[in-house]
């Protein structure tokens, strides 16, 4: 079988996949991405390049993905619906595919009010589910959203999506995953897992609907670097669920950095045992150099 990307090959061969996140810099210096990429080389099967995450202007995910391709590393280019309408989004999918991007992850995106340009006009012409369906139709049927035909080259994209098992209302969370599968998503990366109980409830429902057979699920892991970061994520980042038990451990730790690392290790080992989870997506915010240790010690390498 021909695989569109290394990530698709790894997941299709039922190997436990690892992806890691690289946040582009607030500037045009490509060395910032090269530096992070070299730290992470060999630690993951593919690398997410975020798209102006939390609505803060950074080097574009397309630019970042090109840099990785030039380093012979495989990008997962992220695309949000916040800043582009359907014309620009479809055009960028074609552009990315034309230079060799093979994994794209589609999300609706953080609202502009959270970022450093809160006065901006948000686009939101599409939501993530609609965009996924459009790209699936471009890839498999050679048609644009309008119904117009693609004339020269369908974009061969392994389609990614995000999923948040911890957001309310809980009852709709698996329904939304199912909608993303129906729309055409091939793999999902979940919101960072801290609340293992809630994640297990979600996975139980996922398995009971056989959805783990229809999509590759990568569970999110974020090592907590400090108490400050833990508090920011617990109290201020929408959609993140850090249980009090973990908060207390970080609060009481003599060395919070070490405790955060240990917590991540424990979570990885627990998540690896959950049936239906096909890999991990590691996001270490401003702490990329911890990832090599984490994947080695948890036996992911």
């Amino acid at each position: 079988m021909n695989f569109r990307s290394n990530l698709e090959r790894v997941l299709s061969e039922k190997k436990f996949a690892v992806t890691a996140e690289i946040g582009p810099p607030k500037g045009a210096d490509s060395n910032k991405i090269r530096h992070k990429a070299e730290i992470l080389r060999g630690c993951a099967d593919a690398y997410n390049i975020t798209d102006n995450q939390t609505a803060v202007v950074r080097l574009s995910s397309m630019g970042g993905s090109f840099i990785l391709l030039n380093l012979n590393l495989e990008p997962i280019m992220q695309m949000t619906c916040r800043d582009r309408n359907r014309i620009a989004l479809q055009s960028d999918v074609l552009g990315a595919a034309s230079v060799g991007v093979r994994n794209i992850l589609f999300i609706t995106g953080d609202h502009q009010s959270f970022g450093n340009h809160p006065d901006a006009r948000g686009v939101f012409d599409l939501d993530s589910i609609q965009l996924i369906q459009i790209v699936k139709n471009m890839r498999d049927h050679g048609i644009f959203q309008s119904g117009d035909k693609i004339l020269s080259g369908n974009p061969e994209i392994f389609i990614g999506a995000a999923s948040n098992p911890f957001a309310e209302p809980y009852e709709l969370r698996v329904d939304r995953l199912e909608k993303k599968i129906e729309a055409g998503a091939d793999f999902i990366q979940t919101q960072s897992v801290f609340n293992l109980d809630r994640f297990n409830v979600w996975m139980d429902e996922v398995r009971s609907r056989n959805l783990d057979k229809k999509i590759h699920i990568l569970a999110g892991i974020t090592p907590l670097k400090s108490l400050k970061m833990t508090e920011r994520m617990k109290f201020h980042v929408p959609g993140v669920d850090i249980p009090d038990r973990i908060y207390e451990r970080m609060k009481n730790a003599v060395d919070p950095k070490h405790e955060g690392y240990n917590l991540a290790l424990e979570l990885i080992n627990d998540i690896k045992k959950i049936k239906g989870v096909h890999g991990l997506h590691i996001t270490a915010l401003f702490w990329e150099d911890i990832i090599p240790h984490l994947v080695r010690e948890s036996g992911l390498l």
Binding site: Q133, I134, P169, P238, G239
Partner: protein
């Protein structure tokens, strides 16, 4: 109703710079919003007087968005208008433009900001309900509109950020997807959310500039 908010009084003063002024209010939305009714017109008149800016006259249009009616009503005030250097309009963005179609030789100063089409919840408490997108699809969501009420206009919501039923963008506002969810659950119609909703046809609102 068209919801308006009166501009900061000092900003209005800055825009007027010097008088005299003729003030125009509106009998409908701006009156109900307490931004351009008789009470507000007279209160601004008083404020300007204290700043040594005279008012040549004032009128409440019925309503300001009615061109022919405005022409009739403003004609009666023509002398007062001609004496003014500025026309202060306390009406919605539509009302301001209808006035400017009639009064062409005197500078017009907007005294309100037009916010949205919304509901009066309580006195001076308004909430957005419609963005006039040109194609109502509320039947898909239990007669609750996510296009106007979700900051991301998601048709396949909710997003992953709602907390305790509140919107991630503003904790004082209920997440519209939470409202839709609860309503449809109560009706036993949650299946309505399982179907993928297609991208919106925005040409319905942007291309239709005039209805005759």
């Amino acid at each position: 109703m068209i919801i308006t908010k009166q501009k900061d009084i000092n900003d209005i003063l800055k825009s007027i710079k010097e008088g005299p002024v003729f003030i125009i209010g509106c009998s409908e939305c701006a009156t109900l919003c307490h931004t351009g009714g008789e009470e507000e017109v007279l209160s601004i008149k008083e404020f300007l007087k204290n700043k040594n800016i005279n008012t040549t006259g004032w009128v409440i249009l019925e309503p300001a968005c009615n061109l022919l009616n405005d022409k009739r009503l403003l004609k009666k005030h023509n002398q007062e208008i001609q004496k003014a250097k500025k026309i202060l309009v306390l009406a919605c963005g539509n009302g301001i433009q209808t006035v400017s179609e009639i009064i062409k030789d005197i500078e017009i100063v907007p005294g309100t900001d037009t916010l949205f089409l919304g509901e009066i919840k309580h006195l001076n408490d308004f909430e957005k309900r419609c963005i006039m997108c040109g194609e109502c699809i509320q039947d898909l969501f239990g007669s609750i509109c996510p296009i106007s009420r979700c900051p991301k206009s998601m048709l396949n919501g909710p997003c992953g950020g709602s907390i305790n039923g509140k919107c991630e963008v503003n904790e004082n506002i209920d997440c519209v997807w939470d409202i839709i969810y609860k309503y449809l659950k109560e009706k036993g119609q949650l299946y309505k959310l399982k179907e993928i909703k297609s991208p919106k046809n925005w040409s319905k609102s942007t291309e239709m500039r005039r209805v005759i």
